[in-house]
């Protein structure tokens, strides 16, 4: 009878040709060794299965039911984690996968230690001996074929809860999958335990929901950072008298801030304050306006400051004023800065103090300044000295959009300006 049982078992398993079955196959073969074992040792079997940590079923249940549960339990678990499991690299490291394997392991132990065929029987009758009703058969979903390794997250999105939730948040997965190791990191995450607490944390510090997608797109590593670390960094920023709205806007505009240790953040704050000799409030002002100063490398900033000082010849207080009004100068391209300065200072003949007074010039496009200046020269209106009549301020020259520039400063039409551009 036992032999017929195992036959059944085999058939049943053949039907459910899932990976899980393949796993348990080994000990299917062991069943064959114990065909002669009479049934009836259910007590011992139950005792054995008690050892298995994974069993949640109560002992009062009928013996044959129990393995069924385990199998469906296993199947559902498998569903939940299949995406994870299929990443070949991560396979063994994930906790879920280990949990899924565990039903196998204790049995092998049992075999090696006690050498009683009874145990094997107990372990093997798992689900397969039971006649499965149609409904139950339907409930065991066979996982569809997912590639074990893929170059794209596309294959996993529909199967993984975390990924589909991230898409709903507006995370650009196609950008993330191009970064090394990020894809497998995301797959390993569990939405409820890893992602949700961090999102709640971000919400607590005042970040708007609509920014979550961008933040995670830019810095997916925020999802692996410890919550207490994040909290301590936010606390540090607040202790530096950044208001909570400022912290929120800084985090949403430069998400990497939260991945920097407190010590490093402190160093950087100190650098800006000391190098620029600014007051604490001004430093805060710069950093809230351009939080990526805190995340980027400090070398380009140092180089830009040297450039302003030595090559462009600004005085220290002028640099301070420039930086406070337009912090972007610190991260601007050096070649661009010199090109613009060269044009404004040598061609437009604007002295240093005027440039320092209207530093927006250094932030705008070279072509824009050149076109507009040449147009004004052509019209005879290029007059940048504030002491003379018909003065045109540098700020208005660069920040006004084209149409307003034409009507207010050049007193011409936009068509004239376009025609003029075609003669340059």
């Amino acid at each position: 009878m036992a032999s017929s049982c195992t036959q059944l078992c085999l058939q049943g398993r053949n039907l459910l040709c899932s990976k899980a079955v393949a796993r348990t196959w080994q000990y299917n073969s062991q069943v064959r060794h114990c065909i002669t074992v009479p049934r009836g040792s259910s007590k011992i079997l139950n005792g054995c299965s008690l050892n298995k940590g994974n069993h949640k079923t109560t002992q009062t249940r009928p013996r044959w039911k129990q393995p069924m549960f385990r199998y469906s339990d296993l199947a559902s678990k498998h569903l939940a984690t299949e995406a994870l499991e299929n990443k070949a690299v991560e396979e063994t490291s994930t906790a879920d996968v280990v949990a899924y394997k565990s039903p196998l392991l204790p049995i092998r132990d049992a075999v090696s230690v006690t050498e009683t065929p009874l145990d094997l029987d107990a372990a093997t009758e798992v689900s397969a001996l039971e006649v499965i009703s149609v409904e139950e058969a339907v409930s065991i979903t066979v996982p569809s074929d997912i590639p074990a390794a893929s170059t794209s997250l596309k294959d996993y999105v529909d199967k993984s809860e975390t990924l589909s939730k991230l898409v709903q948040l507006g995370v650009h997965l196609w950008k993330l999958e191009q970064r090394p190791n990020v894809g497998s990191m995301l797959l390993k995450l569990d939405f409820n335990t890893d992602v949700a607490p961090r999102l709640l944390f971000l919400k607590d510090i005042g970040v708007d929901d609509s920014h979550f997608g961008e933040i995670i797109t830019q810095n997916p590593f925020i999802l692996t950072e410890g919550l207490e670390n994040l909290q301590s960094r936010v606390n540090f920023l607040k202790s530096q008298k950044f208001s909570s709205e400022n912290v929120a806007s800084m985090v949403s505009r430069a998400p990497y801030i939260l991945n920097f240790t407190v010590k490093r953040l402190d160093n950087r704050l100190g650098f800006y304050q000391q190098r620029l000799k600014l007051s604490a409030s001004n430093t805060r002002h710069i950093l809230t306006r351009l939080p990526r100063l805190l995340c980027g490398s400090l070398e380009p900033v140092k180089e830009n400051l040297k450039l302003c000082e030595m090559e462009l010849g600004f005085k220290e207080n002028e640099i301070q004023h420039i930086v406070v009004t337009v912090p972007k100068v610190l991260t601007a391209n050096k070649i661009k800065l010199t090109k613009i300065f060269d044009f404004v200072h040598n061609t437009m003949k604007v002295p240093h103090d005027l440039i320092a007074k209207f530093p927006q010039v250094l932030n705008c496009k070279y072509m824009r300044i050149r076109e507009r200046h040449q147009f004004l020269v052509y019209l005879g209106k290029a007059q940048y000295d504030p002491n003379l009549p018909n003065y045109i301020s540098l700020e208005r020259l660069v920040i006004l959009p084209n149409d307003i520039f034409c009507t207010e400063l050049a007193l011409a039409t936009l068509e004239d300006f376009t025609l003029f551009q075609k003669t340059l």
Partner: protein, 325 residues
């Protein structure tokens, strides 16, 4: 079944021209326009996600109670087709560049998008001429013939008059006319050559040395002068060199202050898009303007005797151009 993006993508197939400012490399212009077009195409509303029917297990006690495990059919959007997962629909657009303009020169630059690249090739097979405005200044000579180069020589220019300049230009034009005949692989003593010359069809096939087919002084005020040049197979550097040689021929020296292309084949300054109009919407409009002219131009070409020569010309302005030569 085309998505809105594909429909828009089809609309931007064709040729158009832009005004390249000086000081910018043509590659930057091309790349900038490519990104703008991609942005425009991908900004069109995406299609709704396809749905798939999936059996969802009700969440209650999936591990504990298999009896309670019931399935419900639900149609769920397939997230793997979402734009956030697949990335933008169009990742690149072929943008081809016509006859190049080097960084320091400005003017009309022809660009082709998508299938327009074929038309672009055909256009340049038909021996198009280009118009340039070249500004020069007497008195100095530099190592790269432009006014920004290192000065190697200074000279006087008081003796130069407009007459003398025009004499030199006429001489240059004559020399170039001779070169044109030489490169036009036809026996000069044949009837065929005569007939072609009458129609103004003589000229080099494909590659040749640069040939100036027209040269005219439009502004003369020593030391500055401006020339209008029509030419074939030229480079901007060659035009600068021409200015330099004109200076030498006049017993003086000259540098080129600027090269500006005012026409490239049928594309004139008038239709050129300036820097602020390099957006998808403006480009589509410019290409649309080109298209009807293409359809109209086909009929006159068909009954004209030039048909066999101009196999795939998309241009009717070419004809008038030929006559000038």
């Amino acid at each position: 079944m085309a998505t809105p993006a594909i429909r828009m993508f089809r609309k931007i197939d064709g040729l158009f021209c832009v005004y390249k400012p000086s000081g910018v490399h043509w590659k930057l212009v091309r790349d900038g326009i490519e990104t703008n077009l991609l942005k425009g195409v991908n900004a069109t509303p995406s299609q709704p996600l396809p749905k798939e029917v999936r059996f969802l297990a009700l969440p209650a006690g999936e591990a504990e109670a298999p009896k309670g495990l019931t399935l419900s059919a639900a149609s769920v959007p397939v997230l793997s087709k979402h734009t956030l997962v697949t990335g933008p629909e169009f990742q690149n657009i072929k943008v081809g560049v016509g006859h190049r303009l080097d960084a320091s020169s400005s003017g009309v630059l022809v660009l082709a998008v998508g299938n327009g690249n074929k038309a672009l090739n055909n256009l340049y097979k038909t021996r198009v001429t280009r118009d340039y405005t070249v500004e020069g200044e007497f008195g100095t000579a530099t190592d790269d013939f432009s006014n920004t180069g290192r000065i190697v020589e200074r000279s006087t220019y008081g003796h130069i008059t407009k007459d003398k300049l025009e004499r030199v230009l006429a001489m240059l034009q004559g020399a170039n006319q001779k070169a044109l005949l030489m490169y036009s692989n036809v026996d000069m003593r044949s009837q065929e050559a005569y007939e072609m010359a009458v129609r103004g069809l003589l000229g080099p096939d494909g590659k040749s040395l640069p040939i100036l087919t027209g040269l005219r002084c439009i502004h003369f005020q020593p030391p500055n002068f401006t020339l209008e040049v029509q030419c074939l197979n030229e480079t901007q550097k060659y035009l600068r060199k021409v200015v330099h040689e004109i200076g030498l021929e006049l017993r003086s020296t000259a540098v080129c202050k600027g090269v500006r292309r005012t026409r490239d084949g049928p594309f004139t300054l008038q239709d050129a898009l300036t820097r602020h109009h390099w957006k998808a919407s403006d480009v589509i409009q410019a290409i649309g303007q080109y298209r009807p002219s293409k359809k109209k131009s086909k009929t006159p070409i068909k009954d004209s005797p030039l048909q066999e020569l101009e196999e795939s010309t998309t241009v009717n302005q070419m004809n008038s151009e030929r006559e000038q030569q």
